[in-house]
Symmetry: C2
Subunit: 154 residues, 2 copies
């Protein structure tokens, strides 16, 4: 958390500037609030947005390798090592050898990992709904669709 909610009114007049209408700027600010809300919701599970993402992909059962996690999450392979180390230490995921490639390690969730994820998903879902409170369900879907076209250009 950066600035307190103290005298927020003091900087409100800056919203009229061209920055305040810049889609990139709005995207950055919306994302900052989104991450803050997600991390707050995940704190009680000892997770953050990053580790939650890795756990989510492990739970999904797609048996990703660390390399795939690295590419999909746009993280350096060395960062994935640290994230998996932590989750494995807490027995939420396990590294399994890939029978097709003895170099690769497949990340799978443990039963405890699946249970923790289920509860964490409820918490982040609630936080997300609170953040999107001003949007209708139709708008949420529209938003997701547009963001997807930006995030995954054909």
């Amino acid at each position: 958390m950066t600035a307190s909610a103290k005298s927020v009114a003091g900087s409100d007049r800056l919203r009229a500037s061209s920055l305040g209408d810049d889609v990139s700027f709005l995207l950055a600010r919306a994302n900052a609030l989104s991450i803050a809300a997600a991390n707050a919701a995940l704190a009680e599970f000892g997770l953050k947005a990053r580790s939650y993402s890795v756990l989510s992909l492990a739970v999904a059962g797609t048996r990703p390798s660390q390399r795939e996690l690295s590419e999909f999450l746009r993280l350096d392979p060395s960062q994935v090592v640290a994230l998996v180390d932590e989750l494995e230490r807490r027995a939420l995921v396990a590294r399994e050898p890939d029978p097709c490639d003895r170099r690769a390690k497949v990340i799978v969730a443990t039963p405890e990992g699946r249970e923790t994820f289920a509860r964490a998903q409820l918490a982040t879902g609630a936080a997300e709904r609170a953040l999107h409170a001003d949007l209708s369900e139709d708008e949420r879907e529209q938003l997701a669709d547009m963001l997807r076209r930006i995030a995954y250009p054909e």
Copy 2:
């Protein structure tokens, strides 16, 4: 830049996971691409997203104090000091005493700062349009409106 564009196909199958439909996750990924594109466009001007934002608000003529910049940009006051130091060192902005409050310093753009900003704005505008190439003008406005309601909840 994190993962190379080498074997992106390798992680595409992970998109089918629940994470791939998570609005917060899409928001984070779209923002990461947006910042990367903006920073690439700003590099030739020796600017980054942060310093560009400060320069933009200085150019707007609203005469923000550092405290206001800190609140509006959600940055710690000490970070604003560093950003303004750098911009002032390059003579793009100047600190002026606030006649109403001798503690405060008002940030104003120099003529050179305005000129640099004008060129930088063209570059970021082009990068943004490229990033939103799949969106119509109507959709862009819709997106901005929805992001604004998330970023600035009433």
